[in-house]
Structures are given as C-alpha cells and as structure tokens.
Amino acid sequence: MTAAPTATEVASAVRSGTVRAATVLEGHLAAIDAAEAGIHAFNLVTREQARSDAAAVDAAVDAGHDPGLLAGVPVALKDNLCTRGVPTTCSSAILAGWRPPYDATVVTRLRRAGAVVVGKTNMDEFAMGSSTETSATGPTRNPHDLDRVPGGSSGGSAAAVAAGFAPIALGSDTGGSIRQPAALCGVVGMKPTYGTVSRYGLVAFASSLDQVGPFARSVADAALCFDVIGGHDEADSTSLNRPTPRVLSVLDDGVEGMTVGVLAEFLDGADPVVVARARAAAEALAAAGARVEEVSVPEVALALSAYYLIAPAEASSNLARYDGVRFGLRVDADDTVAMNTATRSAGFGAEVKRRVMLGTYALSAGYMDAYYGKALRVRTLIIEGFARAYQRCDVLLGPTTPTTAFPLGAKVGDPLSMYLSDVCTIPTNLAGHPAISVPFGTDDAGLPVGVQLLAPALAESTLFRAAAVVEAAAPDGSGRGGGTT
C-alpha cells in the first residue's frame, strides 16, 4: 500500500515534465476500477473526456507552455456542479440525464488551471442530508469501513479523495456538507467565506448558505485548490468584488501570537473521544506558540433550529423549477398542474419533499414572521455572538462532528438525529464565515476524527495557517495519505 500522491506533488511533477498527466490519470482510473464498486463514490466517471483533457495537458507541457497550478491533477466534482454536456443530476431522479449547456465557474477555473475532471460524485439528493443515503443512485460507503456512511451531503467527494480516486474534489457546504464528510472520511474539507467562491453553476439548495469548497488529503492541497477556484465572478452577484485571500503562500507562517478559542458549545454533547481529539489539537496549537482559551458563544445553540427554517425556505423556492416543463423528468398527466404534481411526486425523494414542505410552510402567509422572520433574527444573533468571540480570538476550535462515522441506515428513520450530526458545522454557514476540518487521529475503532477550525469572514489566511499547524501535529494514521494507488 503506497500513499497516493498529493495534488501539489502531481502538479509539480507534471509542470516540470517528469511525469505525464496521462500516467497520473491512468493510476487514478485504476484505483477507481479497483475499489469503486464497493464504495460508489461516483454517479459518473468521465473516463474518455478525462483522457482527452490529460492529453491536452501533456501536449501543453510538450509545447513548452505551463498548464497551470493544477496541471494534470485529477479532480472529482460533486454532482451539483454544472458540467457542459455532462449529466449533472444532484443525485435526483428529477434531473436524471440532464446535461447542462454550460460549465460552473469553478469548473472553468479548475480546467484553466490544468485540472483533469475524472467524474461526478454521489451526494445526498439536492445536498439534503448528512450521510449520502438520500441519493437516488444509492448510498456511498465510507472507504475506512464500508458498512458506515461517509457523511454528507458531499459524501461521494469525501470518499473519492479518501479512497485515492482523486487528490482533490469539490463539494458544496450549506450546513456542513463539506466539513462533516471530510471529518468522517479522514480528509481535509474547507468551507470558504460566503462570496469568495462563485456559486454560478452550483445547483442551488439554500442560496444564502451554499458555498463551494475543496476536499484534499493535505491542507496544502486544499489551499492550492482554494487559490484556484476563489475570486470575484461577475456572474454571481453575491461574489465579493475584493481581493480574495491567497492562502498557499502563508501556509508555513505558523500561529505564534494567535489566540485560539476552544468553543465550549461544540464540546457539549460530543463523544468523549472526539472531545479529547479537539483538546489535543488545541494543545498542539499552544505548543506552536498560540494562546489557547475557552470561549462561549451561547447563540450557536439556536443555530440548528434557525437553519432548518432558513435552508428549507430557500430550498422550497429554489426547487420549484423542477416542474417537468423545460428539463429533466416529466410525468405526463391531463393538465399542467397535474403534470407538475406527478413529476415532482415521482422525481423527488422523501427528504427533499420533507424540506420543500417545511420551507413552504415557514414562508406561508400568517406563519412567515413566526418562523422564517424569527430564524433570520436568530441568524443575526449568531453573527453577533461570533463577532464577540472574534474580538478576543483569531480562530475558534472544536469538533467537526459530535461522532465518528455511523453505520449505514442508523439514522435514516430519524431525521432529527441525522440533523444533529451537523450541529457543529451549521453556525458557520449562518454567519457566512470560513471553516476547515482537519483529520486528527482516530477513535478506538480506527475511524477518523476531524477537528474544526473557524475564522471570521475573509480570514482564510489565518484559518489555513492554524490548519497547517494542526495537520503537522496530527497522530499517524489521521487520514493523510490514506488513499492508495
């Protein structure tokens, strides 16, 4: 079992001409062939297009051109990122076979940097779930234990990186959908500041919360990918028109002089082993010169309730367009309304229907202020609570998830317990702040544990510096290089 190369290693070797992109790709395709059947990380492996893209990268190198920062790096894309001419399904029957006529901005940026897209990864349907079990194409399994979930909703991307199918994958994080599966699969997962990565071409779940971010097997690879995909995009009105922090260059700057706040609310209710790992990571930061203290942001206890009003409310509107009229599934019926109903009844799974109904109710006349309006006010309180903590601290630290990976089927019948697995990740989405999950040891069963670092808006540089220190102190077997080729 040899450790799969990191994206940094691949790009460096391909750019210098010592390794062919085609060779790198075939190594990863072989890994997919060997293990994908048991994992189901992908909805689609785009083998032929990947081969032609890798050949183009090699041709560029041969011609003396620099293909870019991600030259020849295989990347996997969550199946809610639009890819021109390539099916984009959101793991939903309602979009089965739909081929977007355009690429998402992040996909364009990856390709321009020389990345080679190997496929579209499985996910919870429309990113609604925390285990990748709500997918219409069946669940993804955790590469560390095939009887356990990889987390979700970007479970396929997390599993693909953990299994060595690609050094980098993109996911989307609405309430923890990058960080939670990253923690459960033992890889790095990062959610950027809202507005730093374009959402153009990301199929919307909850527009005010969604953000695209990277999975990788190292903090440096995640930083490299963030530098490539970040930056202003005119096609996304919520994209910040200001310089995006470049993080790769500050990775080794250390944490001396930083204040790290261990967030008490995230420790409450978490498994003892997870709490112990988080505390150990804090000690590592202290050992590297950071000041560590306990902080409390009581408002985050309200986050889950607010999130399950705001996200479904926006989703109920965002998912209205799947009506059978213009694209995707159509189930014919006698009139338009009956056709809409039949199409949506057949095309959406149970969790999507549950959230569309929740959101529709929360926005209804007479209930709007009591539910959606109140949730927005709670959101403001959470932002104020974090602002208070960040007056004292540069970063906050806690577990990414309360538990390690749970068995398949364990929570599908109990939505509330499933929702609770995002209790530590949701507050950051409501605040719009960046956060990252870094693998930090395992539980007694050898399952990965993730430690989460949080920072204020646009403080990605601080976040990545702290993450690099935590990564360097992580016990052996924390997941880094967990994949094989």
Binding site: N80, L81, C82, T88, C90, L95, W98, P100, P101, Y102, A104, R199, Y200, G201, L202, V203, A204, A206, S207, S208, E234, A235, D236, S237, T238, A313, E314, S316, S317, A320, R321, D323, V325, R326, F327, D335, T336, V337, N340, T360, L363, S364, A365, M368, Y372
Partner: protein, 479 residues
C-alpha cells in the same frame, strides 16, 4: 346607470423597459424575434444559473421615478413564488416592500394630480399560447411557451385610488404612456404588450364614504378597452349593490369581444406568493450622484412639452385654444421637437404644428426618425410660397417613406418646379381677363371672390401654383 354612485379607480401599469438586454442576463430584449432564440441558462431558469442586475434597467427605472416625482430609495428584490409554465424559475424576481420609487405624482393635462404609490422593478414572464378553442389554459389541447420575453425588465407603476371615472382613467393612461415614451424608458406600445394596464375598480354611494369592495380587471390592451372595462365593471357592481347583493373581491378578465368582465379568481383562490428576499441579489443603493446623472439625462416631460408649444403659439390667444388637440397629438406622439425646430428656423408655428399634427402624425414612427433638417427645409419652402400645401404634403410623404432626403430635389423630381413669378403673373392676368364681372366686384372689396381666380389659376396650372402667391398677385393688381 351610475346615478347616485361614485367610482374609485386605481391603475397598475406594467411597462417593459427599452433596454438592449434583459433584466438579469445578457440576452437581447427584442419583441417579435423567432420564439426561444433570445434565451440562456439564466432566463430559462436552468439549475445553477444566477441573476445579475442590468444597470441600464435600474437607470430607466430611476428615470421613470424622476419623471413621476418619486422618492428614489435604496431597494431590494424579493421572490414571488407561484407555479406557471411561462415562469421559468416558478418564481418571479420582483421588488416587494422596498421598491426603488415611492410617493410620486402625475399631473393630468387638466391639472389634476394623481398620486403614485410606487414604481418598482421586476422581470417579465415568458409568453404562453394555448392551442384550442378557448385560447385559455383550461381545455387547451396543448400550450407553447416562448421564453424570449422571460426576464425582460418591467417597471410596475401603481397609482393611488385617486381616479374617479373612466375618462380620467383614460387620461391617466394616455399621459403616463407619453411620460414613459418621453423619458426614453419605454416605447409604450400597448398593442405589443410593452405597456399593460390593470384596473382596480370599486363603487360607493358618496364621495366621502369608505371605499367599496374592489375588483381587479386584467387584459386591458388599449386605452379604449380600459375605459369600456371600467364602465362595464362599475355598472356590474352597481347592479349587484342595488339588488341588495354584495360585491365579491375578485380578479376579473376583460373580454374585449363580448364587452364584459368575467371572474378569473376570487379572493379565496388568491395565491400565497410567499415573498422573501432574493438571496441571489444584493440591494440597489443609488447614490446622489447617480440620481443626479439620471435626472440630467431626462428630457422634457409631456406637460413641459405642451407648455413649450403653447408658449410658441402665444399665450391666451384663440390660436392656442383652437389648437389644443394638435398640441396634444404632437406631444403624445413625441413629434413636438419637429414643430419647435421648424419654428426656430422661422417657419410659422401654426404651419409647423398643422403639418406635424395632421400629416407627419399619420406615420408617427417614421416621423420620429425623420431628418429634422429636411423637415425644416420643406416647411420653409412651403412658407415661402415656393411649394403649395398640396405639393408640400406630397413631398413630406416621400420624406417619411425614405427617412429623409432633400425636399427641393424631391419637389423637382415630382415636377413641382415652383412657377416663376413671370409665368404666375401672366396666368393670373389671364384669369382676371376671363372673369371681368368677378374682377370688378373683387376690386370693390369682395375678398372672397379671390377664390374664383385662384380656382382658374389652379386649373390652368394643374394645381402647381401656390394659392397664397396667387392671392398676393391679385392684391398687387387691385393696388
């Protein structure tokens, strides 16, 4: 029928903005193109697409707000959620509780001011055609949707319920249309749907009584329909009330052919639009400099344009009173600049106004594109007597058809060579000689007998002579 009853009317006018591109994407904003050719992922509502606000549309909305004396405010967009096949995303992006323009007014030509509650931005829907006997969605065999109109920028102008009869509502719609055209925001074409009017109508027993229950009337495709629909609807409500029944709050559809309104949906069936802030867009906050720049580029409004012509004609004279319709016509059609320019070049105002209101107005669209210099040159020739009125009108027809040209060249080509003074003198002398009795009476002061000689000269010259020049020659001969 309306004896003893008073009407209360408020109008909601949707106006398509004359932008190059749509409100949230780069697709062409063009009426009449091949269906579904001006479309992209954004205006088709494809998954993953996002709206980006068209700055030009904001400027035109601000121009409308300025022209209607509104307060232009920081504003936000909301989603109005409802399912309909021509609504690409199954929600419409519209402004809700924070519209860009609020609290303005519009002054009718008679001086009555109608309060404007708001004028907000929103996107248009696609256009559905239902195949089948009824032309409506119920019972259609199938429906076709053209998304070229999806995402076309609209401003919805909501008046206060200040209008009191159908004539006043018509005057409001006419004046608003002229303002929209003058501000450059819209072409105001009701027949192409670029201006659409909905009317809220209620009746009450006295002008001081609380408002009655209102009905909203849709599908009013002309100013004439608006008037007819209001009159019909008021009668319908009065009949109900006089029979002791209640008016139910409804949305009603105007059937132009049948000349009546029909129930579209009742209050109970009204949609719950579940408005919430559009998370894909950021607030629009026009700064004072931007507002000032928009106000600076705003041309004269119809009221100012009418005043300008009235002033040229001379205040308080019969000349003004007799020409109100001509003044209104040229301003409504956006042709008043032709009159003003001609007058500035020395053409008599009454002549310029008459030619513009009577002849140029017959093809207003061509007239708006007409080369001003050519028009002024033509009227100068007519005023100087080198072309007759008949000839001048014929040349104008050519100019309008061609969009311009040299009127002198056109006149020559048509054989309208101005008669030389010598040949006119000779022809008049022949006419005088042929009518000795009439000449004697004319010489004694019977001016109207000039027509006898003018008629003879015209006959002899096959209409080529200038009537005014003939009269001038007669007066010279009379001494």
């Amino acid at each position: 029928m309306t004896d003893g009853w008073h009407l209360v009317i408020g109008l909601e006018v949707h106006c398509e903005l004359r932008t190059e591109t749509k409100l949230f994407c780069g697709c062409r904003n063009m009426f009449g193109d091949e269906p579904n050719t001006n479309v992209c992922p954004v205006c088709l509502g494809l998954p993953g697409s996002l709206p980006v606000l068209n700055q030009r549309a904001v400027e035109l909305a601000m121009a409308i707000g300025t022209a209607l004396h509104c307060d232009i405010r920081p504003s936000t967009f909301h989603r109005k959620n409802y399912f309909y096949p021509d609504q690409a995303k199954d929600y419409q992006i519209s402004q809700y509780d924070e519209p860009i323009n609020v609290d303005g007014w519009l002054e009718l030509p008679d001086g009555f001011r109608v309060r404007i509650e708001r004028a907000h931005m929103e996107e248009d829907t696609g256009k559905t055609t239902h195949a089948g006997a009824s032309g409506r969605i119920h019972g259609a065999d199938y429906s076709l949707v053209d998304y070229n109109r999806s995402g076309v920028p609209l401003v919805e102008i909501v008046s206060a319920p200040d209008l009191r009869d159908a004539a006043q509502a018509r005057a409001y719609a006419t004046e608003l249309r002229a303002i929209l055209v003058a501000s450059g925001a819209s072409d105001g074409k009701m027949e192409e749907g670029s201006m659409r009017v909905d009317a809220n109508v209620s009746v009450r027993r006295s002008p001081d009584a609380p408002f009655g229950t209102r009905c909203e009337i849709k599908n009013l495709n002309s100013v004439r329909s608006l008037g007819r629909a209001i009159e019909y609807e008021a009668e319908r409500q009065i009949t109900l009330l006089e029979a002791g029944e209640a008016v139910e709050q409804q949305t009603r559809h105007w059937d132009e052919t049948a000349g009546r309104t029909e129930t579209l949906r009742s209050k109970e069936e009204a949609y719950d639009y579940r408005y919430f802030r559009e998370p894909d867009l950021v607030p629009v906050v026009p700064d004072p400099e931007w507002k000032a720049a928009v106000a600076d580029t705003l041309g004269l409004m119809p009221a100012q344009r009418r005043a300008r012509l009235t002033e040229l004609l001379g205040q308080g004279t019969d000349a003004v009173d007799g020409r109100r319709d001509q003044v209104a016509t040229v301003v409504d059609l956006g042709l008043d600049d032709l009159v003003v320019e001609a007058a500035a070049a020395g053409v008599p105002v009454t002549l310029a106004l008459a030619r513009t209101a009577n002849e140029a107005a017959t093809d207003a669209e061509a007239a708006r594109r007409l080369d001003l210099g050519a028009y002024v040159a033509l009227l100068t020739m007519e005023a100087a007597g080198s072309l007759s009125a008949t000839q001048s009108k014929a040349v104008l027809g050519e100019l309008l058809a061609a969009g311009g040209g040299d009127p002198a060249v056109i006149a020559r080509a048509k054989g309208f060579e101005a008669m030389s003074t010598d040949s006119l003198t000779a022809t008049v002398a022949e006419a005088v000689a042929a009518e000795p009795d009439a000449w004697a009476r004319y010489r004694d002061g019977e001016d109207k007998l000039a027509q006898v000689f003018v008629g003879r000269v015209m006959k002899a010259t096959r209409g080529q002579a200038n009537g005014k020049a003939v009269v001038a020659e007669l007066q010279r001969l009379r001494g």
